[in-house]
Amino acid sequence: MYRYDNHDQTLVEERVEQFRDQMRRYLEGKISDEEFLPLRVQNGLYVQRYAPMLRIAIPYGMLASYQLRKLGEIAARYDRGYGHFTTRTNLQLNWPKLEDVPDILAELATVQMHAIQTSGNDIRNTTTDQFSGIAGDEEVDPRPWCELIRQWSTFHPEFFYLPRKFKIAVTGASDDRAAIQVHDVGLRLWRDDAGEVRVKVLVGGGLGRTPMIGETICEDLPWQHLLTYLEAIVRVYNQFGRRDNKFKARIKILTKALGVDEMRRRVEEEWAHLKDGPQTLNQQAIDEMASHFVEPPRREIDASDIESYEALRRNNRAFARFVTNNVTDHKVSGYKAVTLSLKRSSQSPGDVTSEQMAAIADLADDYSFGELRVTHEQNLVLTDVAVDQIEELWHKLDELGLANPTVGTLADLICCPGGDYCALANAKSIPVAQAIQERFESLDFLYDLGPLDLNISGCMNACGHHHVGHIGILGVDKKGEEYYQISLGGSQGNEASLGKILGPSFFREDVPGVIDKVLQVYVGERQPDETFIDTYRRIGLKPFKEFVYAA
């Protein structure tokens, strides 16, 4: 993974000192609350419902074991002993003290981490495929490109005060696991006939209050121009994006208003001035960056070891369940990626304790070359586990409560912190998640349902990505009461779609029963081998609606 050089290290340290001085002036009353706000959020610091919240960046979801260990230490020392992994693959601490934050940032800098631009109207943490570098369907490893984007966007002086936040997602695989169609900019890296990397650029996707699928602004950008082209897009957005209404300020609204053709014309006009300028990438820059993302020193795995693994899978039902759901194929024979489930009804989705962080860091060292990935589904992945070690790892994960064999099922739901923590939330989301997990505990039932994305957001900012859940749940506030709106038919990935609202919203206690009815319709209507989303697409919303709202 990427290791800082002196330049990177100096910059994060200088950032800590800059913020320390800003915090000092704020606490001395020399900066008003309003004027301090963008300064603190651009360093990840929110003032939340009950306490400050610090959002720590995990660039494109890559985490080293020593970093996770440090996060665990920080959570124990400055917080209440746990952290929360978010859908943007960041880690949030929910209870730090305001005045401690410069010290926390200084601690993070010792392990090449920071909280830069994890909030604010700037370019946020770039996200990518959690299986990048190991996926069988990958054409281009997106990680070097993500790091180039990270560096280009970090402290970009022109783009600290955009109309609104700006999120970029990158994939280099044929199966889009990075949800590029629902980002401000989505990038798909591919290779042309000459083997050269090209970039398909989508613009104007997003969730939130006005969900939209991104549109293609460029099919085949040569890689040399990636940064100048991005700069042109963001400059056009900076100058023409709406600033009069924060709900209409994202680039999707501008793209919709102008039309993608006019958007493209403006971007290309701007780009004409930037193209071939000094930020044009050269091969050496790519090679240098790629040299950080080398193949780990994997062993040769004997065919007999692979056979033993397969035999265990045939003979041990519990192991088979784990493998089927939580183990993913690897481009290298004999190796697998293992997903650690952070979804169990005893803890909020995405939450990890300090003790678990330390233990997971040890497992990463022992089984996967000391590296981990954070997924936007709020799980963790060990990407390089030899098949002859999976059984042992499985037992250890089980002891830690991280081996729930439910990845990709209804129980693997995405959930924002909601009204228990977040100042923006209209309604609580965690109790809904827990009620659903408790109601649908039977593994046989979950497996029978097959792949099913259930996503919960506590407000229409959509941090829980409810629009792209096969089943989406949105907390809404009506005259001070919490209600839940249910939508069906959303989907991420290559066939991205936005869910449609089922009908009038429900009380919290009724939500599990409603989900049950939705599932009954699916089970009753499905054809052999048909997944929930397939059935929905075939029969539409109506049968679900009729059954759920039948008197």
């Binding site: 002196n6 330049h7 910059l11 800059q18 402290f155 970009h156 022109e158 000094p278 240098e288």
Partner: protein
């Protein structure tokens, strides 16, 4: 829009506070005499373009004719109606990079300490600070960063090229203590 300026605000240029000879003037007509920073349309219509200077609103779209006229201006000011309005950064940068404007570009309006360093990187070289800002803190704020990842007006070399150059020279610059 901010209230009419009646007395000079702290002006920073060349790394220090200097005396400001230019008062901002938002009327539809230019003052009869004295140096003043006036609305762009007022300046364009004026017959004393050397002792008046224009200020540009943050949503200015520069056409060729305006650019040509601006080259003759003693200085060009860009207004920040609110410090969170980031359009002025792009306006300054385009003036410098695309139009090779070499004169003074002054930040005017809601100009606060903690944005100065980014304004400088986008091509501003003079700052009319809001009255309540502390000049000493402002001067310190310029020193926040010793190096940069991206190209900007004060940094023609992106980090990836700098690294290549340093790798050739085998002499990376040491990290600051």
């Amino acid at each position: 829009m901010l209230p009419e300026q009646t007395s000079p605000r702290p002006l920073i240029k060349g790394g220090r506070q200097i005396e400001d000879q230019w008062l901002r003037h938002d009327d539809e007509t230019a003052p009869a005499e004295g140096k003043a920073i006036v609305r762009l349309d007022v300046w364009l219509a004026s017959d004393r373009r050397d002792s008046l200077a224009p200020w540009l609103p943050s949503d200015t779209e520069l056409d060729a004719e305006t650019i040509a006229a601006l080259r003759e201006a003693p200085l060009v000011a860009i207004d920040f109606p609110k410090f969170t309005d980031g359009r002025g950064y792009s306006v300054a940068r385009v003036l410098r990079e695309r139009h090779a404007f070499t004169g003074e570009i002054r930040a005017l309006g809601d100009v606060l300490i903690d944005q100065l360093v980014y304004m400088k990187r986008c091509g501003f070289d003079a700052w009319s600070l809001r009255e309540d800002q502390i000049v000493e803190d402002a001067l310190n704020a310029f020193n926040a960063f010793s190096r940069h990842y991206q190209v900007s007006i004060d940094n023609p070399e992106p980090m990836f090229l700098r690294r290549q150059r340093e790798a050739c020279a085998h002499q990376p610059e040491p990290a600051l203590a």
